[in-house]
């Protein structure tokens, strides 16, 4: 090898080395995104929701919920069931507040048949509806702690929810899936001693709310984790079709229990619809806490004024619903739940469309997750409060 050759060689080598180091610097400065797949099996998703999040470091660039892992086809199944059989299915939609699922469907069927439940049945329906709301939302209040790392509140929630479930069991015979509502009224009257026991339990639930407020909502860490996180402004909330506490937390004064005149007993008692101007995670949690308190108030007042009379209207033994279409929605624990029932005059519905609250509530996830940190994904999901059965029906 001559000296010139080696010189060229060295120059070449230097050039290549410079290029390589340049390339390496560029590679090192560019950070690659990471796609984090939260779920379908993940403790924060209450079941099998999957959230695909593209991250830049710990910051979410893009997130999308992917549902359908627990789809059970209830809308289709209702077509091959008779009307009284449908309630057994739709109990399983929002499994924490099952009785509340039955009511709008039964009301829609009653609307088509042009009958109305007797006043006593309406009262008891409303009481059970609110009890299932308490059973549902009180678990949310405990679960909120677990999502944020505090393990104790959830056991308090389970402890006090047990009393409510006992009441529901006493009245209906089922703790989770009462299957108690009938077209034209209820299966049975209330058991003896129900009224007194319910009053005691409502007092316990109010204590539970105070306890949770002290333990969790007053905690500075909890506030710093939820205040200003996941803010959903009023117009966005309306555009995405949010309902229930999520909508009221964004400052929209909208509650179907008050705004609709259904054959239920809400209009006969004094209670308040709470709204919060902030629209952040804290507001959503706080609204739900107030909701439980209001529910205990509603139940307490309804217990005082249960009218006497039958719990079942006169309905034919074999129920055939006349031809027609009806839409009834109620303010369920998770938000607006409605049934659009199309009847062709048969024993069962021709077609049913179920509008469940959680499906719409999580549709805001891509919007609200943009730019939040990974830990906040969990806070926001917890505060949006969905139940998988309610998303995937």
């Amino acid at each position: 090898m001559t000296s010139t050759e080696s010189l060229i060689d060295r120059r070449q080598m230097a050039y290549i080395a410079a290029q390589a180091s340049d390339a390496r610097v560029n590679v090192e400065l560019e950070t690659e995104g990471m796609t984090l797949n939260i779920g379908p099996q993940h403790p924060a998703t209450h079941g099998t929701l999957r959230i695909i999040a593209r991250l830049d470091g710990e910051q979410v660039v893009w997130a999308e919920p992917s549902c359908g892992y627990m789809h059970r086809g209830y809308e289709k199944l209702t077509e091959v069931r008779t009307y009284p059989q449908v309630t057994a299915l739709i109990n399983r939609i929002d499994w924490l507040g099952s009785f509340a699922n039955e009511v709008p469907f039964i009301l829609a069927a009653e609307k088509l048949m042009e009958i109305e439940a007797p006043p006593r049945a309406q009262h008891i329906r409303t009481i059970l509806f609110e009890l299932s709301r308490i059973a549902n939302v009180s678990l949310f209040l405990g679960d909120l702690g677990v999502q944020l790392g505090a393990v104790t509140p959830v056991f308090m929630a389970f402890r006090d929810r047990e009393y409510v479930l006992n009441l529901i069991e006493a009245a209906t015979g089922g703790r989770f899936h009462p299957n108690f509502d009938r077209i034209g009224g209820l299966k049975d009257d209330l058991p003896a001693g129900f009224v007194d026991e319910t009053r005691v339990v409502m007092k316990k639930l109010r204590n539970f709310c105070d306890e949770i407020e002290n333990l969790l909502f007053g905690n500075e860490i909890f506030q710093s984790r939820t205040r200003g996180i996941g803010v959903i402004p009023k117009d966005i909330a309306l555009q995405y079709g949010l309902s229930g506490a999520n909508l009221r937390a964004s400052g929209v004064d909208w509650d179907l229990r008050r705004d609709q005149s259904l054959p239920m007993a809400w209009n006969k008692v004094d209670w308040k619809v709470w709204t919060h101007p902030d629209g952040d995670s804290f507001a959503r949690c706080w609204i739900r806490l107030q909701e439980v308190r209001e529910s205990t108030r509603i139940v307490d007042q309804l217990l005082d004024t249960i009218p006497s009379g039958p719990v079942m209207a006169k309905v034919p033994r074999i129920i055939k619903v006349p031809e027609g279409e009806a839409w009834v929605s109620t303010e369920n624990p998770l938000g607006e739940m409605g049934y659009y029932v199309v009847s062709k005059g048969d024993l069962g519905p021709f077609r049913t469309k179920i509008r469940s609250a959680s499906f719409n509530n999580i549709s805001v996830v891509p919007w609200v997750m943009k730019g939040v940190y990974v830990p906040d994904i969990i806070t926001i999901l917890a505060s949006l409060y969905f139940i998988l059965g309610d998303i995937d029906r």
Binding site: V151, R225, I378
Partner: protein, 351 residues
């Protein structure tokens, strides 16, 4: 222990006894803390009974749990960095053993009487960071990686307030030897009254609080458990570990809690000692030999007290987000501990 053994035992026998003593000193607090606090106290706080079936009041539950873990399959993920994945739990546990080596349990009951004990303690406590970081990296799991990175950031951030909190004690005691710190507290006096000695929790209260907060963060217990975060990262760096390796992590977590409680009791609560004035002792040489038996019991009592506080906080609080806890460390704890050092130094010169 040294003086007791030095007389007639050969070196290998002494070493063996020390190793056995170290294992006891690590495993016994871990087991006690898990049973008393994790199983029982947590249950009572949550209005349930906890384990009741295995042994009287579930006292043998831990044996059952360990048996269960030992039976489980030792799974290594396919894409894991195998060697590193396997040694990571041992690195974390080793840090605990290294820590316990300098803790004095009595006038002669110590594993090693090390002049720069505090310095050594602070140095080896960060070895566990390495274990956690490599566990998170080697698991080949995104959740573990996030957990490992968070843990590294957090543990390094809280190392600093911990060091700064201890400096106040060092200034006051004038030594870095943990044994000497115990003696300085018990032989001391408060404005001439020596009935209580001078436990540094009284003069270094700010330092004590900062130290306990930093310990909470070092142990990655709630409210600083962002690296583990069961509800979001599904146990972070421990996600992929099963069976015996998970058990190792688990023991390390609670053993380290115990050892840090021991160290905190040495630094702030007077360690193994009782006020020397009670028995007219003046120096460590005049302390009676029976303190070698009573001392460890006193230490365990104080350890349980401090571990109770650690666990109490753990079960009550929600967790910080990692940027919030970094801010808390750098903007609150570090300045406060710096002021604490300054005030301590000024008062040390003044008195």
């Amino acid at each position: 222990m040294n003086a007791l053994l030095a007389a007639d035992l050969p070196y290998w026998a002494q070493s063996l006894l020390r190793v056995l003593g170290g294992i006891v000193a690590v495993l016994l607090p871990a087991g006690t803390i898990v049973y008393v606090f994790l199983f029982k106290m947590m249950s009572f706080m949550q209005s349930r009974l906890g384990p009741m079936e295995a042994g009287p009041y579930g006292s043998l539950q831990l044996v059952a749990e360990v048996g269960k873990w030992l039976q489980k399959e030792d799974i290594t993920p396919e894409r894991a960095d195998r060697f590193i994945f396997k040694i990571a739990p041992l690195v974390v546990l080793a840090s605990t053993f290294l820590l316990v080596a300098v803790v004095p349990f009595g006038p002669d009951a110590w594993f090693t009487n090390f002049e720069a004990g505090v310095f050594y303690m602070l140095a080896v406590s960060s070895v566990s960071v390495l274990g956690i970081l490599i566990a998170g990296w080697a698991s080949a799991n995104k959740y573990s990686l996030l957990g490992g990175l968070r843990a590294a950031g957090q543990l390094i951030a809280y190392e600093l307030p911990m060091v700064l909190a201890v400096i106040g004690v060092i200034i006051q005691a004038g030594t870095m030897n943990l044994q000497q710190i115990v003696v300085a507290q018990n032989a001391g006096s408060i404005f001439g009254w020596d009935g209580l000695g001078n436990p540094y929790i009284l003069t270094q209260f700010v330092g004590f609080i900062i130290f306990m907060i930093a310990v909470q963060a070092e142990l990655t217990q709630t409210p600083f458990d962002m690296p583990i975060a069961e509800s979001e990262l599904v146990s972070g760096y421990m996600t992929e570990y099963s069976g015996f390796r998970f058990l190792t992590f688990f023991i390390a977590e609670f053993a380290t809690a115990g050892v840090f409680a021991l160290i905190a009791s040495v630094l702030f609560l007077g360690g193994w000692g009782i006020p020397f004035a009670w028995f007219d002792w003046s120096t460590i040489d005049s302390v009676d030999d029976w303190m070698n038996v009573v001392g460890p019991l006193i230490m365990v009592t104080k350890m349980m007290l401090l571990a109770f506080i650690i666990m109490w906080v753990r079960f009550s609080y929600p967790r910080f987000r990692e940027d919030q806890l970094q801010r808390f460390a750098w903007k609150a704890l570090v300045p406060i501990s710096l002021v604490n050092i300054m005030v301590t130094a000024i008062l040390k010169v003044a008195f």
